[in-house]
């Protein structure tokens, strides 16, 4: 009887990962405009607006530099502490930002998905891209600082995008997990958040990995963020290339990402019921 084919069938079935990814590609323009929207909103009703994105990394940097290089006088292996710390802080901050925003993406955008039919997967993605802007600003500050301090750049700097991508990848992996499970059990977010507080000190953010005693080195090798920061320092500070045991961390981050994606896609049909 009907001549037009059915364009959509709504039933109780989770989309496959492939379908979800295709949807994301289809909605790529929306992702960009949502990133733009979020940036606008973040600084809406502030007088200084975008200026605050500079303030955050600058304030961290000042505090930590004073604390570690003036008060504690930490061994930095000859590298200027501010560069070492800033490269770590940038990466960690971006990771934290992804966790706090993308990790709660379904809850933060509850109003949006309760009333609009948009692919859920674009929520954690656009949220993690928002932090990229702040990361770039921090990178800008870093570059200026490195030039001022007269520390040379090497050709490895061309691999910076790889480090940024790794940073994003690890962040999204954790965020997918968190947002999928936080929907049912809201404690999950707080749990991971607490774990990350430890993680910040277990990861060489403010110090170089060479300060880690030998018997604890394995902690670095299973820590995806240690790998990410090592990549940043390799490309910016011409540090050593991450040693092969870091492959474990790489493997972990891939596992986290894939399982996180699977968990997220699976919860999709019931998301709105729990909001």
């Amino acid at each position: 009887m009907s001549s037009t084919p059915a364009i959509k069938v709504i039933e109780n079935r989770a989309p496959t990962i492939r379908e979800s990814i295709l949807e994301v590609i289809q909605y790529r323009v929306l992702i960009i405009s949502m990133v733009r929207r979020e940036l606008k909103v973040r600084y809406a009703q502030t007088l200084l607006g975008f200026f605050w994105s500079f303030m955050r990394p600058l304030s961290y940097l000042t505090i930590y530099t004073i604390f570690f290089s003036v008060i504690i006088k930490m061994d930095t292996g000859g590298r200027p502490f501010s560069l070492l710390a800033l490269s770590g802080i940038m990466a960690w901050n971006y990771f934290q930002d992804i966790f706090h925003t993308a990790g709660q993406s379904l809850i933060l955008d509850a109003d949006l998905i309760k009333k609009n039919n948009i692919p859920r997967l674009i929520l954690p993605i656009y949220r993690s891209l928002v932090g990229l802007v702040e990361l770039c600003i921090a990178l800008g500050i870093y570059v200026v600082l490195q030039i001022i301090l007269g520390w040379p750049f090497t050709l490895f700097v061309l691999f910076l995008p790889l480090a940024i991508f790794a940073n994003l990848f690890v962040g999204i992996g954790v965020a997918l997990w968190t947002s999928a499970y936080t929907i049912r059990v809201r404690d999950f977010y707080h749990l991971v958040s607490t774990i990350l507080n430890f993680g910040m000190w277990l990861t060489p953010v403010f110090y170089g990995p060479e300060l880690v005693p030998d018997f604890l080195e394995w902690v670095l090798y299973i820590n995806p963020m240690a790998l990410v920061i090592a990549l940043y320092r390799w490309s910016l500070l011409a540090g050593p290339f991450p040693e092969w045991p870091y492959l474990i961390a790489a493997f972990f981050s891939i596992i986290i990402f894939i399982t996180g994606l699977r968990a997220f896609v699976k919860t999709q049909p019931s998301v709105v019921d729990y909001l």
């Binding site: 009887m1 009907s2 001549s3 037009t4 084919p5 059915a6 364009i7 959509k8 069938v9 709504i10 039933e11 109780n12 079935r13 909605y27 323009v29 929306l30 405009s33 949502m34 929207r37 606008k40 909103v41 809406a44 009703q45 109003d111 949006l112 998905i113 309760k114 009333k115 609009n116 039919n117 948009i118 499970y181 049912r184 059990v185 404690d187 999950f188 699976k266 919860t267 049909p269 019931s270 709105v272 019921d273 729990y274």
Partner: protein, 428 residues
């Protein structure tokens, strides 16, 4: 073309977890969380079935109203049709993209201004910037709030929200539109504008699903109504039929509630007299008798609409210094007043006397009312017309005896006087 199916709902059911609070003891929380994380349960522990096995088909150009009490599952159904929720069982087949407004402010970002929200919504619906640009002016013109386009929508009034949301929904050329209780907040003029727009789109063969508690809106717009009751389709049929049945049921429920609240009346149904006393107990008159008569008696408040219907009301005035006039008003099933009359000219000549019984008689001529349910209320005009009180006191059903004068029974109007209608071909 006309019979093209747009929306097919097949055995749709939706269950929610009733007890979402979850356990409160720490060890139970822990156990539950671990269980949830390791193995998200497929079966709900405490299911509440919001929709139970719903099936219907909507054809192109149809306007479907969904009515029902709060909690009947109307909004859940619309949410599933809009793709926001997935059903627990069954499925929906869509042949058109859906545009929906569910609750006011749907999908607007409070911190963005009206213009940005229009673009944002358009993009969610899958349109490109250029396409939205083309529609933009139309949307703004229709909403009539151009001067607020650069204001963040969090400062909008609910009426402005509605204007923007409605304008967006109807201007993006979707052929299936779903509205949940949206027009209630608009002012009268904008409501009319919305209705006109919907009618215009209906004529262009667009399909609508509308949830509303405003019977007049439903009666004016919808061709068909589904009455949801406790998650099931209680009735599915032509607008007027379902609507009158619904209103009747609604009032019976209310009466039952009243009855169960007064202990004495628990077992026997009150007589007409007792009913009247109950209804009029706050009034300034006492009714001694009410007789409703027609030549041929069908009984049980059912009458023929081709015969005159005579009402005789014997009453006395309890507090005559305040009461000035008593009138009756005839209303249709949707409570629209049709006509009325009363003591006006009589009591103007002579003031009502407390010790006097009066007989008020009125006759509704035959061949005037259509078929269906009617209500009569008594209106007291008190205190020099500065206030009046309205008592619904009688309802009845009109039945047609022949269909001779009415070859188009699909045309429902509460009043159906014998019109003279002629059609002849004329030479050109």
């Amino acid at each position: 073309m006309q019979n093209e199916e747009v929306l097919i709902v097949e055995n749709l059911s939706k269950a929610f977890e009733l007890n979402q609070q979850g356990p409160l003891l720490f060890k139970d929380v822990l156990k539950q969380s671990i269980k949830n994380i390791l193995k998200p349960q497929k079966e709900l522990q405490n299911p509440f079935w919001s929709l139970k096995d719903i099936s219907f088909t909507l054809k192109k150009g149809e306007t479907l109203g969904i009515i029902g009490q709060n909690g009947a599952g109307k909004s859940t159904l619309l949410k599933i049709i809009s793709g926001l929720m997935s059903p627990t069982k069954g499925r929906i087949i869509l042949h058109q993209e859906v545009a929906s407004i569910l609750e006011i402010g749907s999908g607007f970002h409070p911190d963005l201004n009206g213009k940005e929200n229009i673009f944002f919504n358009g993009q969610i619906m899958g349109y490109t910037k250029a396409e939205i640009e083309k529609k933009y002016q139309q949307i703004v013109d229709f909403s009539e709030i151009e001067e607020f386009m650069l204001t963040p929508v969090k400062y909008y009034s609910s009426g402005m929200f509605l204007r923007l949301a409605f304008s967006i929904a109807v201007h993006f050329d979707r052929e299936l539109m779903v509205f949940d209780e949206v027009m209630a907040v608009g002012d009268q003029r904008f409501q009319n504008k919305c209705m006109n727009k919907i009618t215009e789109l209906k004529n262009k063969n667009c399909t609508f699903v509308i949830v509303s508690h405003n019977f007049r809106e439903v009666a004016n717009l919808c061709d068909r109504i589904i009455w949801l009751k406790e998650g099931q389709i209680h009735m599915d049929g032509k607008t007027y039929e379902v609507l009158t049945e619904y209103i009747k049921q609604d009032e019976e429920d209310e009466k039952d509630l009243k009855q169960s609240q007064t202990e004495n009346a628990a077992f026997q149904k009150p007589s007409l007299r007792e009913e009247l006393d109950e209804v009029l107990k706050e009034s300034h008159i006492k009714i001694h008798q009410l007789e409703v008569r027609q030549e041929s008696d069908l009984g049980a408040k059912v009458f023929y609409n081709h015969l005159p219907l005579q009402f005789e009301l014997t009453f006395s005035v309890l507090r005559h210094e305040e009461v000035f006039d008593l009138a009756f008003v005839l209303r249709d099933a949707l409570k629209t007043p049709l006509f009325g009359g009363g003591t006006f000219e009589f009591f103007q000549k002579q003031k009502p006397n407390k010790n006097q019984e009066y007989l008020l008689q009125w006759i509704i001529p035959g061949n005037l009312l259509g078929e269906g349910y009617f209500k009569i209320s008594l209106v007291e005009f008190l205190d020099n017309n500065r206030s009046f009180a309205n008592y619904e006191f009688y309802e009845f059903e009109m039945k047609g005896i022949t269909k001779i004068g009415d070859p188009t029974p699909k045309f429902f109007t509460p009043i159906k006087p014998p019109l003279e209608i002629n059609l002849k071909p004329i030479k050109k």
